[in-house]
């Protein structure tokens, strides 16, 4: 089985936010919940770079480690998913997540923040694949259909790559060699404890 990863080539990202829009539409995510977002570092300064960031589906995920009800699980494809049946909305995963991925449907007080929501790598949830129940709770399950996450699939500059970690790392390495530069695979050191030499 593949080890699924995201890789954002910050030298190609043009901050068009198409990945954000694609994610919202494909998974029918309401306003105020951002499974994916584009962050611009050094905005307006020389060397500005934009990075599209979502759940990185970490190796040995911190969210899963701190969850008091153990609602997270890792699929065969190394995608980190969680069960909204079990989630109690305590917020610990949000504190532990290095990437700010967990989102909550209610905001005023944590007493009833509702079930946590995050990027599923377009792999749905614990419900049966591509059922209506699964869609309404977790969004699309493109992986079960043999497709990759839509954010990366429709990235106009092919900055955002999603798929087997070794393959996308290879693609990125080739790019770096060909063009002679690369600002690194953002988040990989934190999420997978490895880096792509650039």
């Amino acid at each position: 089985m593949a080890r699924m990863k995201f890789l954002c080539d910050a030298d190609r990202c043009i901050e068009c936010n198409a990945c954000v829009t694609a994610c919202k539409n494909e998974n029918d995510v309401p306003w105020g919940i951002n499974r994916r977002r584009v962050v611009t570092i050094n905005d307006g300064k020389p060397g500005e770079r934009s990075v599209s960031m979502a759940c990185m589906h970490c190796t040995d995920a911190p969210c899963a480690a701190v969850c008091p009800v153990d609602c997270f699980y890792t699929t065969e494809d190394a995608v980190v998913l969680h069960s909204k049946e079990l989630c109690i909305g305590c917020g610990y995963c949000f504190y532990a997540c290095p990437f700010g991925a967990p989102q909550y449907p209610k905001t005023a007080n944590f007493g009833s923040r509702g079930k946590m929501d995050k990027c599923t790598f377009c792999a749905g949830g614990p419900e049966a694949d591509n059922t209506r129940v699964e869609f309404e709770q977790y969004g699309a399950n493109r992986l079960a259909e043999g497709k990759l996450p839509l954010c990366a699939e429709m990235c106009s500059t092919k900055s955002l790559l999603a798929g087997d970690g070794e393959i996308i790392a290879q693609i990125y390495k080739e790019r770096v060699v060909k063009r002679g530069y690369g600002s690194g695979a953002w988040g990989w050191k934190t999420a997978y404890k490895e880096d792509i030499a650039s």
Binding site: V39, D43, G47, V66, L86, C90, Y92, F99, N109
Partner: protein, 338 residues
């Protein structure tokens, strides 16, 4: 019209671009690195203090400005404290406290009223005081059990009752924990207002501690209304309760001024103070019930036996006898119940 006007205005610029582009492209050597000045994740991460609370953040175009946090390595430290430090500290202090109390009970046994019951009673806590105490006590038991469930439930209870039952229980526990907290905070405030004046440390407490508080040996060092040990419990409850309330309400309401590092800190403070206060209260419950004859009456009926009071709070008894002799029942009168 507008479009044509715009094209007219842009035409010279477009022309200039076309004229300039060709020679520039020709001149540019292949080795130019357009990212020479670009930000690199590694440099940014290296610039952060190891173990610090800094965050790589930038600008986002969505209204939630906190979404601008790109990477917060501090989450890893939070994970270690949450998964490792708090349960370990909790297990050590709580199991340690129970072990110490068990040993104490084995060697010292129940501390008896040496003079036996006199049959005369003295009022120790009025009904408002007992009301505040039991409000704090019942809410603390609920808060403590639901809180301990968050710390130890996953490793102890979850394997026993299964994920669905455990999740429902913990969800209910979270609601109880959040909403009962208000009663606890109010009771803590009430107890502080009522009893702080009797709980300031004094020289008598030093002597009380020097003599082991009467816990070891059989002598009873003199004490005012509250002895040194009770003052320690009082301030542990007040300060611990304040720390728990403050950190708890930060977590509950998440004021937008407090960044994620503050929320992580609040979670850790809440967990550590919580398990320590549970251990302190276990000792308090022991000495107030099983550990000492006659002590429970203080919070049960509010009236304690005069001999108990003379042994443990001699100065206080003298003061009451001077100022409010009516608080001491005359000989052999039936203890005024509720």
């Amino acid at each position: 019209m507008n479009l044509i006007a715009a094209l007219h205005r842009l035409a010279p610029a477009i022309l200039a671009c076309l004229l300039m582009a060709a020679p520039v492209a020709a001149q540019q050597p292949n080795s130019v690195n357009p990212t020479a000045s670009s930000v690199k994740e590694k440099q940014l991460l290296d610039a952060l203090k190891p173990g610090g609370s800094e965050i790589l953040s930038g600008r986002v175009s969505i209204p939630d400005s906190r979404a601008g946090n790109l990477i917060q390595p501090a989450g890893r430290d939070f994970r270690v404290t949450q998964q490792d430090t708090i349960p370990k500290v909790g297990a050590y202090v709580i199991i340690g406290m129970i072990a110490v109390l068990a040993l104490f009970f084995m060697f010292r046994g129940r501390i008896r009223i040496e003079g036996g019951e006199s049959g005369r009673t003295i009022e120790r806590f009025d009904s408002v005081g007992r009301y505040a105490h039991w409000t704090a006590a019942t809410s603390f038991i609920l808060l403590g059990l639901t809180g301990l469930n968050l710390v130890f439930g996953r490793s102890l209870l979850l394997p026993m009752i299964g994920p669905e039952a455990f999740a429902s229980l913990t969800q209910a526990g979270k609601f109880v924990h959040n909403y009962v907290s208000f009663a606890f905070a109010l009771a803590i405030a009430l107890m502080f207002v009522m009893w702080a004046k009797d709980n300031f440390p004094s020289a008598i407490d030093m002597r009380w501690f020097a003599q082991g508080g009467g816990l070891v040996g059989s002598n009873h060092p003199p004490a005012d209304r509250f002895n040194g040990g009770q003052k320690l419990i009082f301030w542990a409850t007040i300060l611990g309760g304040f720390a728990l309330s403050a950190s708890g309400y930060v977590l509950m309401f998440k004021p937008p001024e407090i960044a994620i590092a503050g929320l992580q800190l609040a979670t850790v403070v809440h967990g550590l103070v919580g398990v320590i206060l549970v251990a302190v209260i276990i000792a308090h419950v022991y000495i107030g019930t099983l550990g000492m004859e006659g002590a429970f009456d203080a919070m049960g009926t509010g009236r304690v036996d005069l001999n108990w009071a003379k042994e443990h709070h001699s100065i206080w008894v003298d003061k009451v006898a001077m100022k409010r002799p009516e608080d001491i029942s005359s000989a052999r009168a039936p203890a005024a119940g509720e």
